[in-house]
C-alpha cells in the first residue's frame, strides 16, 4: 500500500513538472514572437512535401498500376467536374452582382496578390487551419485573404491568414468548424456556420427564394463569394429553412491558392 502511494506520488510529481515545462515552452514561444511554432511549421511543411513526393513516387513506380490508372482517371474526371462547377459558380456570382457590387470588386481586384502553394494537409488540423508556402518575406501579413478560382472574376475566399511566418503562413478556413461569418444569399442576410471540410450551413427565412447553385457573398471579405448553395432543406412547420453551403471545388484537390496582399 505504502509502495503504491509512493509510486503514485512520484508519477504526480513527474506530471506536474511536465505541465510546468509545457507552460514554460508556451511562454518562451510567445515572448520570442512565435519562433518555436515557426520552426515546427517549417519542419512540418518539409515533411509534408517529402511525404507527398514519396507517395507520388510510390504510385508512379507501377506497383499499383491498375489501381493507379483508375485513380488517375477518377481524379481527372473529378477535376473536370470541379472546373465546370467553378465556372458555373463564377457565372452565378457575376449574374448576382449589381453595379455597386461590381465597383467594390473592381477595387478589390486592383490589389496585389501572390500565388502560394499549399504545404500541409487540409484534414490534419483540429482547428480548420492549413499552411501555405508564402510568408512575411513574400509580403504576406496577418489578415490577408486567401482566394481560389478565377481571381479576375473575384474568386472564392477560402480563408484568412492568421499567423504569417517568415516563409510560410497559417491560414484559417472560413468554413472551419464553429467559425461564424455574416453573408448574403440573393440579398437575404444569413449567418454562416462552418462545419469543416469546405462545408457550412445557415438558417434563412422560410420565404426567401434560395436554390442550389446560388452564390454566398460576404461583405466581411471584401464583398466576395465564399461558397455556393449545395442544398436547401425545408423543415415542416418551422419559420426557417436550412441552407447547406459548400465550396465549388473540393479542398483536397487544391494545390495552390492566391493571397490578396492588403
Amino acid at each position: 500500500m505504502m509502495s503504491l502511494y509512493r509510486h503514485s506520488n512520484k508519477n504526480g510529481r513527474r506530471l506536474f513538472f511536465a505541465v510546468v515545462l509545457v507552460i514554460v515552452i508556451f511562454l518562451i514561444d510567445g515572448v520570442s514572437g512565435g519562433n518555436i511554432r515557426e520552426a515546427l511549421r517549417l519542419g512540418a511543411s518539409y515533411a509534408w512535401g517529402a511525404g507527398a513526393r514519396a507517395g507520388s513516387a510510390l504510385l508512379d513506380s507501377g506497383f499499383f498500376s491498375t489501381r493507379r490508372a483508375l485513380e488517375r482517371e477518377n481524379q481527372a474526371l473529378r477535376n473536370e467536374i470541379a472546373r465546370l462547377q467553378m465556372r458555373a459558380a463564377d457565372h452565378e456570382v457575376i449574374k448576382a452582382e449589381n453595379e455597386s457590387l461590381r465597383e467594390f470588386v473592381r477595387l478589390a481586384e486592383s490589389g496585389n496578390g501572390i500565388t502560394a502553394p499549399i504545404v500541409s494537409s487540409f484534414r490534419a488540423s483540429p482547428y480548420g487551419t492549413f499552411l501555405i508556402g508564402a510568408g512575411v518575406e513574400d509580403g504576406v501579413e496577418d489578415g490577408d485573404l486567401v482566394v481560389v478560382g478565377d481571381v479576375e472574376l473575384g474568386g472564392f475566399v477560402v480563408g484568412r491568414v492568421e499567423d504569417a511566418g517568415g516563409g510560410q503562413s497559417l491560414v484559417k478556413g472560413i468554413f472551419a468548424p464553429g467559425e461564424r461569418t455574416e453573408a448574403t444569399i440573393q440579398g437575404v442576410g444569413i449567418t454562416v456556420e462552418g462545419r469543416g471540410g469546405g462545408q457550412a450551413r445557415a438558417d434563412a427565412p422560410r420565404d426567401a427564394v434560395i436554390q442550389a447553385g446560388d452564390p454566398v457573398i460576404s461583405t466581411s471579405f471584401g464583398v466576395r463569394a465564399i461558397g455556393i448553395v449545395g442544398r436547401v432543406e425545408e423543415g415542416t412547420g418551422g419559420a426557417s429553412q436550412r441552407v447547406f453551403i459548400q465550396l465549388p471545388i473540393p479542398l483536397a484537390s487544391l494545390e495552390f491558392v492566391y493571397v490578396l496582399i492588403q
Binding site: 511536465a18 509545457v22 508556451f26 512565435g34 515546427l40 511549421r41 515533411a47 483540429p126 482547428y127 484559417k172
Partner: protein
C-alpha cells in the same frame, strides 16, 4: 516494450501532420493507457504549435489540454491494469 512506445510516439507525431485529428488522439490514448508517457503532453503541444493560430493561450490550446486530461485521466486505469 520500449520499441512499442517509441513506435507509437513516432506514429502519433507523423499522424499529426498527415491524418485527421482523431488518429493522433487515439495513438495518444493508447500511449497513455499502456505507458507512463509524458511525451503525450509534448505531442499535444506540437499539434497546437502546428495548427493553432495566435499565441499566449489565445485561442485555448485544446489539444494540449486534451493530452493532459487523457494522461491524467487514464493513469488510474493504467495502474490498475498494467502496473
Amino acid at each position: 516494450m520500449l520499441y512499442v512506445r517509441i513506435s507509437l510516439a513516432i506514429a502519433a507525431i507523423v499522424s499529426a501532420l498527415f491524418f485527421p485529428p482523431w488518429v493522433p488522439l487515439i495513438l495518444i490514448g493508447a500511449l497513455a493507457l499502456r505507458f507512463e508517457a509524458l511525451e503525450v503532453l509534448f505531442i499535444g503541444l506540437m499539434m497546437d504549435f502546428l495548427w493553432l493560430p495566435g499565441a499566449f493561450f489565445s485561442p485555448i490550446p485544446l489539444f494540449t489540454i486534451a493530452a493532459f486530461l487523457i494522461l491524467w485521466g487514464l493513469e488510474p486505469l493504467r495502474r490498475e491494469l498494467f502496473v
